[in-house]
Structure formats: structure tokens, C-alpha cells
Symmetry: C2
Amino acid sequence: MRPDGRDSGRKPTLAVVGATGAVGGVVLELLSTRHDVWGRIRLVASERSAGRRLVVRGEETEVEALSEEAFRGVDVAVFDVPDEVSARWVPVAAAAGAVVVDNSAAFRRDGDVPLVVPEVNAAAARSRRRGIVAGPGCTTLAMIVALGPLHQEFGLTELVVSSYQAASEAGRAGAETLRDQLVKVGGTDLGSLPGDVRRTVGDYGPFPAPLALNVVPWAGAWEEGGWSSEETGIREESRRILGLPGLRVTATCVRVPVVTAHSVSVHARFENEVTVERAHEILSSAPGVVLYDDPARGEFPTPADVVGTDPAWVGRVRRCPDDPNALGLFACCDNLRKGAALNAVQIAEAVAAELAAEA
Amino acid sequence: MRPDGRDSGRKPTLAVVGATGAVGGVVLELLSTRHDVWGRIRLVASERSAGRRLVVRGEETEVEALSEEAFRGVDVAVFDVPDEVSARWVPVAAAAGAVVVDNSAAFRRDGDVPLVVPEVNAAAARSRRRGIVAGPGCTTLAMIVALGPLHQEFGLTELVVSSYQAASEAGRAGAETLRDQLVKVGGTDLGSLPGDVRRTVGDYGPFPAPLALNVVPWAGAWEEGGWSSEETGIREESRRILGLPGLRVTATCVRVPVVTAHSVSVHARFENEVTVERAHEILSSAPGVVLYDDPARGEFPTPADVVGTDPAWVGRVRRCPDDPNALGLFACCDNLRKGAALNAVQIAEAVAAELAAEA
């Protein structure tokens, strides 16, 4: 037994908080392919979902209600719940002795909480003064595993980002809203008159405008200067993960009628001159990245190709004609997997390995 | 009678080439709201469509086959046909004495052909050494009427553009392909596995990948350095229209599952410091622009709101937090109207006024 009362000989206990959500479902899938890491896996969700039975690693497991009790004996807790639920319950789990990996935005700007993407800044996860490690937003994740190694080589100075974000970022309600709207507009002769789509789609669900046959240049909450919280999030998260507090970042976040997989168009400027050839070499060997870049042969990433896969896919790598220090690229990533569930599971596994080494 | 045999007392004769296409249909709609400009209106299309009868200004008019004969006595010809058809037939129409307004890409890079957006560089249309005036691509048009007056005030130095382009840019076939694909994927539980969408949508039509539930980072032909022709087009067209041959421009063109109306996310850097307040003032009074920018109240342009309307709608105007000389903005514009038909009709009307003044 260790001083904290946890058994050092056994495999660590994991709690999955938000187990019944869209990301939670993917966490359970991922855990089912990794049999040797965890001892007990506890599934936790809101009161409303308590008592449901979900399958993880082939075993039916009952969902427990979120409570202090749910964290007793838990070594690591992965949270994927709304910001306000994380804000309330993550500190409770940490106080109970669990290391918490939180996917919400609640702690991403907290200087005492490391913001971690294992391929880029794994070591940061060890300095967790509050016992909490945060994962960045899924739009940052779509590009950061590619930008990390490019920064190492060329020295990043500026990012201009425009996103193409999928509906499932807003959970099951987001995906269902888009599907319902598509059924309503499908096959009709819409899209030639203003208001056609608005009148037909009905409920906007979690989005501020119709999403079927539309794109919506808004994601998140309103912030000073007309920015959305997702846009300021990309700026702050990129700076923290890359360790570049002075990085110039500007982002425009746009929702598109795609169910799952975020895309980003990135203009990246560096201290040093870039070449596409060297960028290709770096991206080919970068962990967590698939380079898919031969547009003359129809090869570039699209959401339909990358959904359900783990890596960030990168294509359309070009050197800007008017700036030898700038690259354009287009990246896609499954927002439920690397964009959320996978990144959290990777961090949790690194923490488990660290606990095992300490034991 | 003038020396060229055209009657100076009468109203000019217009030919609409490509009258049966998606843009041609909008040209006829626009002409029907402008009864006092044109004398005879001749409708011209491919051999295959000859003999069809279309309504313009309330009158049924028979479509003529494209031939030298079709331009006899024509003062102004508006072309909206594929590049290769323009390349062959525009010079024929010009040789027959018509001033040609061409919407294809065939002459946009020709130094003897002015590239015109009336709100920005109307005077350029008068210097047409070859008797041809070109309109820019619909993505350039979505932003340039807003950028022109901002440049006058602040001095534009750089543009980084990411587009969200509608299916109808690829004509009726583009719009129909998207509708067919949406019917096939509509209501199904797709979008969680790679290949799901590819297997289900069937025909890709004029696009290089599925468009329903997807975004496709490619539009146009392959060019040196991995750029698409639409991307290099935005660079060259912006430079020509704004009269800034050294403007730094980089664009990423992405097709989205929207039937009609292009959107662009623009990062614009200027010589002088910008303020959102002054940018708002300029855009509020800019011809051809509607400022729609109060995201806290849900006001930002989306394709569903602007389709079927004439102006370019602009919102999400923000000063970049790390660069007081840079603005972000998001613009939407009906790619069939201001993006093609309306811009051409405006140029044609300016030419008609010029011819009348000369007569």
C-alpha cells in the first residue's frame, strides 16, 4: 500500500466521467482496445443516466451517478462533460486523490493546469500542481500535432486559422440536429431564395443558425472585441502547448454541415525559410500525423476520409508565393477521437505509466 | 447610323451566351427587372439547347445556337460558359463588333483585358484593347467589394483567405450532384466510420470527392507548387482589381455542402492601424456591401441568409489581437448573382451607357 491508501501492486482504477456522451462512447471504444493498462474502469454520468449499462472491454458495466463517492479509490479520472460540470466536479475528483484529465474548457486557461497534447508536450503533464491535466479544444488538436514538429524545425511566429468544424462537437444533440435538418431539406429545391433554408430546417438545436445547406461563422460564447470563445481558445491553447507566449494567432471558427471530423485551413509563418520538401519530410515522420498530399492525384484529406481514424491528416502543403517563410496547409482530424477521447486516453495512460513507475 | 453600321438612335442589342445555364438563368431574371436599358435581347447557347424558348422581360425568346451569325448586330455580349468555350467564341463575338463581358477564367490573366468589379474599378472597363472585359471569379467577388473601400482607407498589404464555396459554382450539375448526395445520406446514421460517406453518395459529379456531409479542399485545376487554379486566381484577380501588383495574397479554396452562396474568411493586413469602428463606418456606406455584424445578437452573414440577394454581406469584423494593422472578417455573397450574373450585367450596363453617350 502507498501512503495515499492506494494499492501499488494492482493496475490503476480509471473513472470515465461523461461515459454516456458522444466523446464518452469513443473513450469506451478506445479502452476496449487497450486491455492491459487499467484495473477497474468505473463509468460515471449524470443522475439521469445512472443505472444504464454500457459495454467496455467486453463487460457490461453499470453507470454510476456523479458524486464524491464515485471517485473513491480512483487513480485517474477522464472528464468529458460540459464546462460548468467540469468546473464543479473536477476539483472534487482531484481532492479525492484522482489525477484528472479534463477535456472541457474550464481549466484550459489555468496556469496551474498543464494543457497537454502528448505528441507535442508530453512532459508538461507531470507538473500538475492542482492534480489536473487539461486537453485543448478539438480545433486546436486538428492542427497542433502537425505544427509542433514544423515549429521545431522552422520556428513558428504566426498562425492564421480558419476552421470547418463538425456538428458532433456539440455532442449527440449537434449530430442529431444536423441529421434532422438534412432530412427536412433533402431532395427539395431549396437554396435559391433567402429564408428558404431558415423556414424549412425547423429547430436550430445547439447552433445559432441553420446548419444544413449552410455554414455558420460562430462557435462558442461571445468575448470582448467580437471574438468567439473558440477563437480565443485556439490562440491561447496554441501558445501554451507550443510554449510560445508571444505567438501571433488569429482564428475564425466556422461550423459546417459535417457530422464528425474537424478541418482547418492554416497559414503558418516561421522565422526561417521553408520548403515544401522539408515540410513533407517532417510531417511524414511526425507522430500522430498522416501526410496525404498529392492533389494532382486527388489526394488531400477530407472529413469523410478521416472520420473514425486516430491521426491528424495533413495535406495541401504549399509555400506561399509572396513569403518564403510561410506555409499553407489543410488538416482534418476526428473531433471525437484525437480531438477529444483519444488525446485524453493518451494523457491518462501516460499518467498511469508514471504512477506505476513511482509505485 | 454609326460607321460600324449600328443604329445610334436605338437601344443597344444584347446577346446572353450561356442563357440556359445556372448563371444564365439569373442573368435573364436580372434583365427582366431592367426594362429600359436594352433593345433586342438575343439568347445564345450550345447547339444542344438551340430552339428552346426562355422568358426574358416577360417575352418568350428562342435560344439560338452559338455561331458567328449569333453576334451580327450585337452591341454587347455577356458570356457565361466554360473556359474553353469562351476561349474560342469570345474573340469571334469581339471580331463581329460586340463588346464582350466574359465571366470565364479564359481572359482574366490577359493584360489587354480589364478585370472589372464596378464598385471598385469601374473606369478600367473603358480601356478594353481587345473589346473584351472580364469579371473575376465568384470567390474574389465575395470579398473584393468590401476590401476596395477598406484599402482606400487603410492601405492593403496582405490577404490570407480561406473559402467556403457553394456547389452551384459548378453549374446545375454541381447543385444537382449535391442534392442527389444529400438524399442518399439524409437520415442515415452515417459519418462515424471512414468510407461511410464515400460508399453511400454514389456519383461525385463535377467534384473530386463526396460533398454531402463533407468539405473538399480543392477547386479548379492543378497548378505549379500544389496550388489550385481558383487559389492562384484569387491572388491575381485581387491584385489586378485593386491595382496592387505587389499585394501578398495566399488563398485556400474549399468546397462546402451549400447549394448557393460563397463565403470567405479573410485576414487582411494594412499599412495603417485599423479600428473596428472605422471599418464599420466604411463598410456601412460601401456600395454593394451590407454590414451585418453583431454576433452577440446572432447577427453574422450565412449563405442561407444571403442567397438570392445582390450585395456582399460582411460580418465578424475584428481587429487582430496581436497586430493592430490587421482585420479579420467573414463575407458571404450569392455566387450566381454578384458572384457572376449581376457583376456581368452591371458591366454590360456601364458599356451600354458609354455607347449611348458616344452615339
